[in-house]
């Protein structure tokens, strides 16, 4: 009897333990296996802190390292009106605090209070945006408990309008224009999130970093632009445009030896710090994006083509009337000034910028060859820079030239180019007939020191070295003997130059509006720099109005780069016969 009751008791205990163990097992499996993932995730959210580290967007600098675009840290002040208003006598106390804040960051405290009172249930409102580091530190020192801060990386352009059209700007949706947009791949940094388990005071628990990655900062873009020269060119072009009453103006300086663009000015222009102040049409770079009929500056290219083809030389003679009836039925073309018949050499035709003379030389070479020369000079083709909104200009196939265009293209009408394309074509003249791809972006340097985006230096031969040299000599005659020579003189230097006055086609016909330009190289005996100054729709229709602008920019360029004066005197070619 006693033994049986003992056995029953033991059985009961064993059974109970077994049942309890089973229950615990089920619960254990449930927690550790079935619900494990969800529970871990929930725990992580309670004890971990995710910190976003911003990769800094790279700088854009000029060729000497001067900063044109810079990333800076700004702070937004964020509040929770609901929490703010929990305080006793909230509207009085908060207004006191707001007064202290607005003393530092500016603004109207009453307006801020109204905003807070109007959104009493909100948990997220901006009190102020984009305050500077000093302001942030000063506000933070006030120890106002209901303020929170958000880091807000921004972009500044310390040189304002200098190269503003080239650098571009950043809108709320990212880069909008210029190099900011086209070189975004190099400039953009990568943000990184890292999670830590945190203690009560927010300090990361040792060894708890789930993942530590360093953010990738963006690379630095170096432009070929020289800030100080760019500053001068922009000023001089602005003065020119204003004094000529022009609608637009561009100025380009290019180095001959490597086709680097040292200055590309646009007027009107944009200050990337405050894009809203600029005309909508001035947000890009006109020098890249807006082609115009260049006019007589193309005559230098025509002369170079004819000499290279061996069908003409500096002394080839024509008789140039004021007006010439084209033999192929293309109508009558005339020169811009009335004159009696002139007996001109090719050099004389450039000095007088005679359309009727150039038209007669044009007949010496077939259209297809002339087209190929213009194409090799880079007209009608993208420059390869890939600037945002860049235009290739227009050069129709030779087969599509009508009777008049066949001649007109050789003096720069019936085709269109950008200022950059003209600079590039002249670069071939200065570089012994070899045209190099123009360069705006010199390199992208990553934070780890690797350098990418090195531009190609592969040139194409357009004309022979001799043809290039002879063309420059004829352009020197323009510098020394044309009507604008006194306005072009840079004492001590030989300069090769050509003027251009092109009528602007409006609604299918040429009206009274013109584009005037001067394009040239110096020193002519060993060309180092190309300058092109262009003004669109000026009050004056004579290219001479911009001659002194060309001279000043060239003089500044020669001074900036300490170019030694020419040791020889210029050629003395016969202009008439």
């Amino acid at each position: 009897m006693k033994a049986r009751s003992t056995r029953a008791r033991v059985s009961f205990v064993v059974l109970t333990i077994a049942v309890l163990t089973a229950v615990f097992m089920v619960r254990l499996v449930d927690l550790q296996i079935v619900q494990a993932e969800a529970l871990n995730a929930e725990a992580d959210t309670k004890r971990t802190l995710t910190r976003v580290t911003h990769g800094t967007r790279g700088d854009i600098v000029d060729t000497r390292g001067a900063v044109l675009a810079d990333s800076v840290e700004r702070f937004d002040i964020v509040i929770s009106p609901r929490v703010t208003l929990l305080r006793k006598d909230a509207s009085v106390v908060v207004l006191e605090d707001l007064k202290k804040i607005t003393e530092i960051i500016g603004g109207d405290p009453n307006q801020m209070l109204t905003m807070i009172l109007e959104n009493p249930e909100s948990d997220f409102e901006y009190l102020a945006k984009s305050i500077t580091l000093e302001q942030y530190q000063a506000v933070d020192d006030l120890d106002i408990s209901w303020l929170y801060y958000e880091l807000n990386p921004e972009r500044t352009y310390p040189n304002g309008e200098i190269a503003g059209n080239l650098v571009g700007f950043i809108g709320t949706d990212g880069p909008q224009a210029g190099v900011e947009l086209t070189a975004d791949e190099c400039l953009a940094g990568t943000d990184v999130e890292a999670s830590y388990a945190r203690g009560e005071d927010g300090v990361a628990l040792p060894g708890s970093a789930v993942e530590t990655l360093s953010p990738d900062d963006g690379g630095t873009i170096a432009l070929s632009i020289d800030r100080d020269l760019q500053f001068y060119v922009q000023q001089r072009m602005a003065q020119t445009a204003e004094s000529l009453g022009a609608t637009w103006a561009t100025g380009v300086v290019m180095r001959v030896s490597d086709a680097h663009l040292l200055a590309v000015s646009d007027w009107p222009t944009v200050d990337p710090n405050n894009v809203n102040l600029a005309d909508r049409g001035a947000l890009g770079s006109r020098a890249f994006s807006t082609p115009y009929e260049p006019g007589s500056t193309v005559k230098a290219l025509t002369a170079a083509s004819l000499i290279d083809a061996g069908v003409a030389n500096q002394r080839t003679q024509v008789v140039s009337p004021y007006a010439l009836e084209l033999a192929n039925g293309g109508g009558i073309i005339s020169d811009s000034f009335y004159h009696e018949d002139q007996r001109l050499t090719l050099a004389g035709a450039l000095v007088e910028s005679s359309n009727t003379a150039i038209a007669q030389y044009t007949d010496l070479l077939d259209a297809a060859s002339r087209h190929d020369y213009l194409a090799k000079f880079g007209l009608g083709q993208a420059t390869g820079i890939g600037f945002n909104g860049e235009s290739s200009g227009t050069l129709y196939d030779a087969a599509d030239w009508d009777a008049r265009t066949n001649y007109a293209v050789q003096f720069g009408q019936g085709l269109s180019t950008t200022s950059i394309q003209m600079a590039s074509a002249y670069q071939a003249l200065g570089n012994g007939g070899v045209r190099l791809p123009p360069v705006l972006v010199e390199s992208c340097t990553r934070p780890d020191g690797t350098v990418t985006d090195i531009p190609s230096t592969e040139g194409t031969r357009v004309i022979s070295e001799a043809a290039a040299e002879q063309t420059l000599q004829m352009m020197e005659m323009v510098y020394s003997s044309s009507g604008s020579a006194p306005n072009l003189a840079i004492p001590g230097y030989r300069v090769a130059v050509k003027s251009g006055t092109a009528q602007v086609a409006e609604n299918g016909s040429y009206g009274g509006n013109v584009v005037i330009s001067y394009a040239g190289l110096a020193p002519a005996d060993d060309p180092e720099y190309i300058v092109i100054a262009t003004a669109g729709i000026p009050d004056s229709i004579y290219s001479g109005a911009i001659a002194s602008t060309f001279r000043d920019i060239m003089a500044q360029t020669l001074t900036t780069y300490r170019v030694t004066p020419s040791s020889t005197s210029g050629p003395d070619l016969p202009l008439r016969w």
């Binding site: 001067a66 900063v67 810079d70 800076v72 840290e73 500077t132 580091l133 000093e134 500044t156 352009y157 310390p158 040189n159 304002g160 309008e161 200098i162 300090v203 990361a204 628990l205 040792p206 060894g207 800030r227 100080d228 500053f231 001068y232 922009q234 000023q235 001089r236 602005a238 003065q239 222009t269 200050d271 710090n273 405050n274 102040l277 840079i490 004492p491 001590g492 230097y493 002194s548 001279r551 000043d552 060239m554 003089a555 500044q556 020669l558 001074t559 300490r562 170019v563 030694t564 004066p565």
Partner: protein
């Protein structure tokens, strides 16, 4: 204290009447003689505590390190921000527009007849110089910069005051910022040239 409890004769288990022990384990004389070594126990227990203490200390150090890392990281962040803020200010101050305006404000003009020395052959040649049709040396505001609106122009007086204040720390009193104070300090504390500086010619 006796330890014979551990070596007491094994007591018969339960129900000696039912199951008499037939076999007894008898400790040998040698075993009986073998006293437990106190040293082992002490060493073991002590090691245990030493390990525990070391672990605790390491943990404290690591935790301390976490706070130190945190504060240093914060310090680094603040310093980087300060550096960046100063660089920002520097690039703004050194912008071409600001330099041109400040220079013009101080009465400087572009050199119309610059000369250059060619160091390869020692020849001196004249450069074309900078043409300035408007006569304002780049300070006409033709090329704008909205960031510069808050930067005041340096006047000749304030520049002199700053130079005096920098050279003689004693004179760097708040009063030196005002023109009157500047004149007073310039009169009383003439700046002394430092001994290791290259003497510069006085130009007017």
């Amino acid at each position: 204290m006796s330890t014979n409890l551990a070596y007491a004769q094994p007591q018969p288990l339960r129900r000696p009447s039912e199951r008499p022990a037939h076999i007894e384990i008898v400790t040998t004389r040698a075993q009986r003689k073998a006293r437990p070594r106190m040293l082992y126990a002490v060493v073991t227990v002590a090691s245990f505590f030493v390990i525990l203490a070391a672990q605790l200390l390491l943990s404290i150090v690591v935790t301390q390190g976490a706070y130190q890392i945190d504060s240093l990281q914060y310090e680094q962040k603040v310093l980087m921000r300060t550096e960046q803020s100063l660089l920002e200010s520097l690039s703004l101050q050194s912008s071409s527009q600001n330099l041109a305006a400040q220079a013009a404000g101080l009465g400087m003009v572009p050199n119309a007849t610059p000369y250059s020395l060619d160091i390869t052959d020692g020849s001196v040649f004249r450069l074309p110089g900078s043409a300035d049709p408007t006569g304002c040396g780049g300070s006409c505001g033709l090329v704008g910069n909205t960031l510069l609106s808050g930067i005041p122009l340096v006047s000749a007086e304030s520049a002199a005051a700053a130079a005096t204040a920098a050279k003689s720390p004693v004179a760097a009193t708040p009063g030196a910022a005002t023109p009157g104070g500047a004149a007073a300090t310039a009169g009383t504390a003439a700046p002394e040239p430092s001994n290791n500086a290259i003497p510069a010619p006085v130009t007017r």
